[in-house]
């Protein structure tokens, strides 16, 4: 008798936990982005209006990137996220590993609605942004013109900051050494090119500081720790707008890349996710994002709706993208481990 009672209790408990599990499955749509000023802008122009317009219950979280994080979520079978904004290399690797749903573009306005680099079977472009040369106009008498000036510590005294690691650093070194933007990856693909980049870095090694998070470069500029730094263009813009800084940036030789929206494999909220992507892909909504934060967007018609005064400070403005290089994802997927080791070897010398 007692045994049966225990068994019944056990079954009831199992049933309850199963019910709990399904209720966990039936959660709200969760959208994940990069936090900070950027996510505040997204809240304003995407998340809140979407909730109002569609009646879909959604919440937003933030993350710091890393395809390993997504792999753990999807493989662990406890993916609590549905739509995530990822960087270009996370998009490529995750797509190969099958971490994302293949997108049905017919549900989000069709491939023709978006600029070409932002159309990918696993994700759709969200923003286009640059690594630019940033400096403080109040501290430099003369404005630097490009990466060559970045390496000229005689003419522009003071320390410099670059992102820690080989990515972006080696491209910048080559451009400073006179390699035209369009040839950067051709040169970097050779051993001589890599040697050349490190040799160029050697010339200012003692004056280099390395940043790791996007929030650091504006702080390094503001505190006067460095005279110039590589920095995300949106951060310079935000610092000027919100903190009354007088920072300048150089678009010549900037490195641009795209972030994309992906839907995590096995998401229980796929329909809601598509609704959200459709909303965030519409030109009228994207143009509002650019007016809040200086990033370019993926819809072909968005630029036409933006005021000219705002447009001229966007990465997608014709003058700004003229001499910019797109960060080469396949190159870095192949070489990141080897060049990271090489970079750290160099740094420790």
């Amino acid at each position: 008798m007692l045994k049966r009672k225990i068994a019944l209790g056990f079954i009831a408990a199992l049933g309850a936990s199963a019910a709990l599990a399904t209720s966990a499955q039936a959660r709200d749509l969760t959208v994940v982005s990069w936090g900070g000023a950027y996510q505040d802008a997204q809240k304003k122009v995407y998340f809140e209006p979407f909730k109002k317009a569609s009646g879909v219950a959604m919440n937003d979280e933030s993350w710091d990137g890393g395809v390993g994080v997504l792999r753990a979520k999807v493989q662990g079978g406890a993916a609590t996220w549905d739509v995530v904004q990822v960087e270009s290399d996370e998009l490529a690797v995750g797509c190969e590993e099958g971490l994302y749903e293949k997108l049905d573009y017919s549900k989000i306005g069709g491939e023709g609605a978006y600029i070409k680099p932002s159309v990918n079977p696993c994700g759709v472009g969200a923003i286009l942004y640059d690594f630019v040369l940033g400096y403080d106009k109040d501290k430099l008498k003369e404005a630097p013109k490009g990466w060559a000036d970045f390496f000229d510590t005689k003419k522009f005294p003071g320390k410099r900051a670059l992102r820690q690691g080989p990515k972006t650093t080696l491209e910048i070194a080559l451009m400073a050494d006179g390699v035209p933007p369009q040839d950067v990856y051709k040169v970097l693909a050779t051993d001589e090119g890599v040697d050349r980049a490190f040799k160029k870095l050697d010339t200012i090694k003692g004056d280099l500081v390395w940043w790791k998070a996007g929030a650091q470069p504006p702080q390094l500029l503001a505190s006067g720790e460095v005279a110039m730094t590589s920095v995300y263009n949106g951060r310079i813009d935000t610092a000027n707008k919100n903190e009354k800084k007088n920072f300048g940036m150089v678009w010549d030789g900037a490195l641009f890349t795209l972030d994309s929206w992906v839907i995590l494999k096995g998401s229980p909220n796929k329909d809601a996710a598509y609704k959200f992507l459709d909303f965030a892909g519409k030109a009228e909504n994207q143009s509002k994002l650019s007016e809040n934060i200086a990033y370019g967007t993926s819809n072909k018609d968005a630029a036409a709706m933006i005021q000219p005064a705002v447009l001229k400070d966007l990465p997608t403005a014709p003058d700004n993208i003229k001499n910019a290089v797109e960060i080469n994802v396949p190159f870095w997927l192949e070489n990141i481990d080897k060049l990271t080791e090489r970079f750290n070897k160099w740094a420790a010398k």
């Binding site: 890393g66 390993g68 820690q164 390395w210 790791k212 720790e225 990141i336 080791e341 070897k345």
Partner: protein
């Protein structure tokens, strides 16, 4: 009832006393075990399980075998001297076709690229250009035409060495070693051999921070233990205050203090001691200062508790027997604080080994500790094999050190300085 009949009755129950005692003992043990059971289960799931998983990831090597099963099977019979036979080429062509359809090529490509830089492109472009299965007997020629790398022995030894199911590749890599084409273990090429140096740096920084904590913490702990309670409580709050502040806040505070236009440099300039700002941050100095500050309470608290237990009568006795203050300190007081020194040092050292945030924010590129690389490979490049192998080496080195240390401290039996 007589005594004799009693023993008879006992004998009839046929369970000897010894066994009943054992049973009672076992029941008691079980009860005690049941009390710690939940904790043990918790530790098993949250600690032992993940560590076992990490160790498994360091040797797990099934990606290539899953994506290119026929090739791996065919290479098992290859002597490795010349190029493999036509059958192996055909197997590879078949595998590539199947993997391309299943979309799994990149998984194998990624793994092979770790061993031979450039393999990613070789595999993916070959699969892309192999429109159809080559005619029987022409696979070797067809693949060689698509990419000349298939005519090289090294390409095939790389696939063979990555055939799994388990591998020493990542563990060797974490120690700057590689297997060459003939299977001998040799040193990695110099521009890729960085991990030994990083391990050495990690242990050196941790040791330096431990020594600094001991030098700074010992007098403070002594003061805490000897002051009257009212004042020592106030001091204790000062010790615990940083302990309760977030690590990130403390680290950022050091950035404000130490940067070139920071508080320290500005004060020194104002006093006319320096003309040019000193470099106090984004280098080893900054890392050691910030980490020492963060870890100091972990040294002071064990020291304080061991000093609290030392009666002041000992020092007075030593003085009355004619010992000079220094002698009394060295032979009477110090030996009694050894357990505290031991516990504090071990705690600080092991905590320092795993530090990540502080060196990342206040260190330069040459001050990153092993945790930085483990994090890099775990989240950014998703090379979990290497990340796990680095973790495994760190774990092993730490356990060994702790054991050696335990032996050393045990050898120092506290005798109150009266060994002779």
């Amino acid at each position: 009832m007589t005594a004799a009949s009693l023993t008879d009755a006992d004998a009839k129950t046929s369970v000897p006393l010894k066994r009943r005692l054992k049973r009672a003992e076992r029941a008691r043990q079980l009860k005690a075990f049941a009390l710690v059971g939940p904790l043990l289960l918790f530790l098993l799931f949250t600690f032992a399980g993940p560590i076992a998983g990490m160790l498994w990831h360091a040797v797990d090597d099934r990606e290539v075998r899953q994506v290119l099963p026929q090739t791996v099977a065919s290479l098992a019979g290859w002597d490795g001297k010349d190029l493999p036979d036509e059958k192996t080429y055909a197997a590879l062509a078949g595998d590539l076709q199947a993997a391309r359809a299943a979309g799994t090529i990149a998984i194998a490509a990624k793994r092979l690229n770790y061993a031979l830089n450039g393999f990613r492109t070789i595999l993916i472009s070959t699969a892309r250009n192999l429109k159809a299965m080559p005619e029987p007997g022409t696979a070797k020629e067809a693949l060689g035409k698509i990419n000349p790398a298939w005519r090289e022995r090294a390409t095939w030894t790389t696939i063979r060495d990555a055939s799994g199911p388990v591998t020493g590749f990542y563990l060797l890599g974490a120690l700057d070693l590689v297997r060459n084409a003939d299977g001998a273990i040799v040193a990695a090429p110099p521009d890729q051999a960085i991990y030994r140096e990083v391990f050495a740096r990690t242990f050196l920084i941790s040791l330096g921070v431990t020594v600094l904590c001991l030098i700074l913490g010992f007098p403070v702990a002594y003061l805490l233990a000897t002051l009257p309670p009212g004042r020592s409580n106030l001091l204790m709050i000062f010790v615990l205050l940083p302990f309760w502040t977030s690590l990130l806040v403390r680290t950022c505070a050091w950035i404000v203090l130490l940067q070139s236009k920071g508080v320290v440099n500005d004060s020194l300039r104002w006093l006319g001691i320096i003309d040019e700002p000193l470099r106090l941050i984004y280098n080893r100095f900054g890392v050691c200062v910030a980490m020492t500050h963060v870890l100091l309470p972990f040294m002071i608290l064990p020291l304080y508790s061991s000093m609290k237990a030392i009666s002041p009568a000992y020092m007075r006795a030593a003085a009355s027997l004619g010992a000079a203050p220094v002698t009394a300190f060295l032979r009477v007081y110090l030996p009694q604080t050894l357990p505290g020194i031991g516990a504090g040092s071990l705690l600080v050292f092991i905590l320092a080994l795993g530090y990540y945030i502080t060196p990342a924010l206040v260190g330069g590129a040459a001050d990153q500790m092993i945790s930085y690389f483990i994090a890099l490979y775990t989240t950014e490049t998703a090379n979990w094999g290497l990340a796990s192998a680095l973790g495994a080496v760190l774990l092993l080195a730490t356990v060994l050190l702790a054991l050696v240390y335990g032996k050393l401290v045990q050898g120092q039996q506290v005798t109150g300085g009266m060994k002779n």
